[in-house]
Amino acid sequence: MHELGVAWHGLTSTWAIPASIVGVIWGIFGGALPGISPSIAMALLLPFTYSLDPVTAVVLLGSVYIGAEYGGSIPAILINTPGTNSAAATTIDGYAMHLRGQGGLALGISLTSGFVGGLFGLLMLVVLTEPLADVALAFTPPAYFALGMFGLSIIASLSGNSLTKGLISGIMGLMIATVGTDPLSGVSRFTFGVPDLISGVKPILVMVGLFAVSELLAQMVEPEWAKVSSRIMRLELPDWTLWKRLGRCEAIGCAIGTFEGITPGAGGTIAAFLSYNEAKRWSKHPEEFGHGSPEGVAAPECANNVVTGTALVPLLSLGIPGSNSAAVLLGGLLIHGLNPGPMLFERAPEVAYGLYAGLFVANVVMLLVGLVILSPCIWLVNRPRPYLLAFIFALIVSGVYSIEQSFFQVGIVFATGLLGYGMRRFDVPILPMVLGVVLGFMVESNYRRSLLLSGGDHTIFLRDPVSLGLLATALTLLAFTLWRERRRVTPSAARLGTP
């Protein structure tokens, strides 16, 4: 009851409700533009959150995430081009429905299933986060170091095709985190006499550069996306009979979305495809899948919206971002001096509970706004891409400047954008670098504090039971990923060796 009161106060004493409306609309527009993923839509707004109060800021970012997941299904259904990665599974049956003249119904199913998934994901977030955070409250410096190492071990599962490249990316992130004043001795490191570097490179700058600027550069070599027919289409909600039919696949989406969301590195795309597959397996009409099955739209859309809630569980409870969008939300918290993790519920409960309440409002807003926003979305998707790129570019430079009125920081964003583009070009994963930047300070400061406590004895990390458990989990995760990669690489290496 007390928590409900805090949530209500957080919601009503700030601009959280308008922020959730703006965030959802922005997210739907962003998601509807092919190439603008939820994390990029969030990263574009990140600099704006600097001048907002913390509750409003995190609600705004969380609402963008929710809106973008629905927005991504609009071009997926109408032009067979997923606006977001997680909407890729929706294209299969969504576009087939559109070709059969049921595009409006497909969008209605996407909206309502997304609403169901979003609320279920939020419920899981509320139920699972605080117990996990309570456990983490007993953490000591060795345990925090081990937690950081556990977070870094996620790099293994985020590395895509090459673990080596993922680790390189992660270490480069750790290197960026060492720039600035040393956390313990106060010595300047890698500042080269530049005053702007004394306080270090802010994670927000790295995120905006790696996600948003690199995407703008990438859009220059991407083919132009198809135009949506200007004929205004009406969104059609499923009737009661169809609702009942969709119940089973939505339940599948909820279960898979919960598991995949909580698992760091998995995310909405995997959840959507797995749900699609399982929905087909358990459907009474599996033959319709691929030819315009309503269940083929409902299952992935429900699952990727569940992930919008459950992906925040490891972030809010342990401070570990398991996905791009969670990393950007983490950036929003760090801007306000809030460290997510076990202490968040102690030090800033209004932010955590306010976020819960804000996400609830955002889901409701998504349902309401989704009913009327289709025409503006079609208009936006049909704008000439050069104009869209120009506006997004202007928004980035203005937004980054507004953080600390520093053009040096705008330069850092350009530099990290260039780096991010190079990383995309050479298939080096971006998220490990973000993890390195975000977790670098936690790892270094707690590693050194632990050794100060133990007089340089490294066994302190093994004597602390929490630290030992986390390090063992990290090693297990790493070993499992290495084993999985070896299994995957061996057959392909054998093929490569064949003359």
Binding site: K165, T178, S185, Y387, L389, A394
Partner: protein
Amino acid sequence: MNGVTRALRGDTVVGLAALALAGVYAFFAFEIPHSFLADPVGAAGLPELYAIALALLASLLVAQSLASRARLRETVESGSDRIAASQHFRAIGLLLPGIGYLVLISSLGYFVTIFLLIIGVALYAGANLSLRLLSISVVGAISMWVIFDKLFNIPLPVGSLWLRLFN
């Protein structure tokens, strides 16, 4: 050149670039002064470790890609790659209007430079210079100025040129 060969050559490039970065980073890491407040690890401890780890991983990546390429034994054709390279240069060139923005903003001020930035990026991305583009850029510049200056109260540069002209 097929996709696999190109990817492996890309891995070699990434590995060599990371190796060079590790070298430069190590050079500056070893230059970090020792403090009287130093703990057992010291301010340079982890940076040195990161440099070594990066060098090892970069070497591993180079070795992996060279070994795989040796197995491939395919002839290298560079034609298609040259086309790809020009596209990448075009993409990176999108930063030029941004760099121009950084150079000009202190003298021309926010409003004029953001107007020029919108025009510059749109033209670079393929728009035609037209009255429509000019109008959209003016509207864009006004919108940005209203959002940041009026709504968020961010002190935006007025421009030294205008100050000199009108003072």
